[in-house]
């Protein structure tokens, strides 16, 4: 997002925006459906992250190139069709690379189309800027999304199966928390991550202005 009156962001800022300041999973809480559905293992999470990044990059490039010729009234429909095209490519690509992965991710690859994050990026960023900048921003967003998915997937795999990337971590006596790989676990783990981020953000200004922080705490 460019706020008027500020110095224009550098390329590095554009790139880092998606990874930290506007992280799609932890800050904006967008694109949750794939984030929760496929993150039962770290491998699935990374594959989903890579597929989404590819679609983000492709759609950002095309939307940015066409930003002057698409009429305003039909822009959303145009974006959706562009995104759907790239998702179809990814869908066939994954099926060609690994059938096992394709079956694990199932319909959720095609559901990348309706990942609100991608349409949101197309509308809020790619349609306003030149291709280079749009691509950098899309790459940052994609990596940020992948990090978020990995954070979810690794925790769920470690707790739910006692493994990471299929490698056992705790020895034979570990009793897996099966609930973590079931749907409720997805909600719990994401909730816990958000909790952590909230806590971190709330305590940051505390050392400088302890009085204000104490006042805020008493409201809760």
């Amino acid at each position: 997002m460019v706020i008027p009156g500020q110095t224009p962001p550098t390329n590095l800022d554009e790139f880092l925006e998606g990874i930290w300041k506007q992280n799609p999973v932890f800050v904006m809480v967008l694109g949750l459906c794939p984030a929760l559905a496929v993150t039962v293992s770290a491998v699935n999470a990374l594959a989903m992250g890579a597929a989404t990044t590819f679609v983000l990059l492709g759609s950002a490039l095309l939307v940015s190139l066409m930003r002057r010729i698409v009429p305003r009234e039909v822009r959303i429909a145009t974006y959706i069709v562009i995104i759907a095209t790239f998702v179809t490519i990814v869908d066939y690509l994954i099926a060609a690379i690994s059938l096992e992965l394709y079956e694990a991710l199932g319909a959720f690859i095609q559901l990348i189309v309706v990942n609100c994050m991608i349409l949101g990026r197309a509308e809020a960023h790619a349609s306003k800027f030149a291709p280079g900048r749009a691509l950098i921003n899309a790459l940052g967003m994609g990596i940020g999304f992948s990090i978020g998915l990995f954070a979810l997937g690794s925790v769920r795999e470690i707790l739910g199966a006692g493994t990471l990337f299929g490698v056992p971590l705790f020895g034979p006596d570990f009793q897996p928390w099966v609930v973590m790989v079931l749907p409720p676990g997805g909600f719990f783990v994401l909730g816990a991550w958000l909790l952590l981020f909230n806590w971190w953000r709330n305590r940051k200004p505390a050392p400088r202005e302890p009085v204000v922080a104490a006042g805020e705490a008493s409201h809760g």
Partner: protein, 195 residues
């Protein structure tokens, strides 16, 4: 799969495989609109309606796409159909209930990007449902979505009165609640035997 009875499909989609709580479809509106009961119900109804229309259209489209061997166009044509259906619902609602139209705000056009709708279309294709089965499936998905939305809205209205620490407030709390609801819905696993 194809021999599952209609009742089984309906029960399985409403309870055991609830779209929101067990399959994580349609989470954006689930977190976004479930703050109050009086917007949750119309949102659920609008989504269910779009689901039914989308399911019907997807069935016809799938037939066409298969006949002409254009499978790679399936996804694109589905999403275009859904976007048109949402546009229709939006126009009808704006004409007959402007207040509701304003209350739902941005979440109404966002039904297009509601994964639950495309999910209905994709899953009915993947499971090779017949027309009747597909429609019952869409109906069950809509009912399940509305049920989850209503349950969540009720819980969150009650939570407004509860003293919750600052850190937990907001989406984190909603997700934890959804987790508990999802845990409760796990109790229905196996019901309908459609899976």
């Amino acid at each position: 799969m194809a021999e599952a009875t209609l009742t089984q499909i309906f029960l399985a989609t409403v309870l055991a495989n609830n779209f929101v709580l067990a399959m994580f479809l349609g989470l954006c509106p689930f977190i976004g609109v479930s703050g109050r009961l009086n917007t949750a119900l119309p949102m659920g109804a609008a989504t269910s309606f779009v689901m039914l229309v989308a399911s019907l259209c997807a069935y016809g489209l799938n037939y066409l796409v298969t006949v002409f061997e254009l499978e790679f166009l399936r996804l694109i044509s589905y999403i275009v159909i859904i976007a048109s259906a949402v546009q229709l619902v939006e126009m009808v609602m704006k004409k007959y209930s402007p207040a509701l139209f304003r209350a739902l705000g941005i979440y109404l056009p966002l039904i297009t990007t509601n994964c639950a709708i495309l999910g209905v279309a994709l899953f009915q294709t993947a499971r090779e449902y017949s027309l009747a089965q597909a429609l019952v499936f869409a109906l069950g998905a809509g009912a399940g979505f509305t049920l989850a939305l209503l349950l969540m809205a009720g819980l969150r209205e009650r939570l407004n009165l509860a003293g919750v620490p600052n850190v937990v407030q907001g989406t984190a709390l909603s997700l934890m609640l959804a987790g508990l609801l999802s845990l409760a819905f796990m109790g229905f696993a196996g019901l309908g035997a459609g899976e």
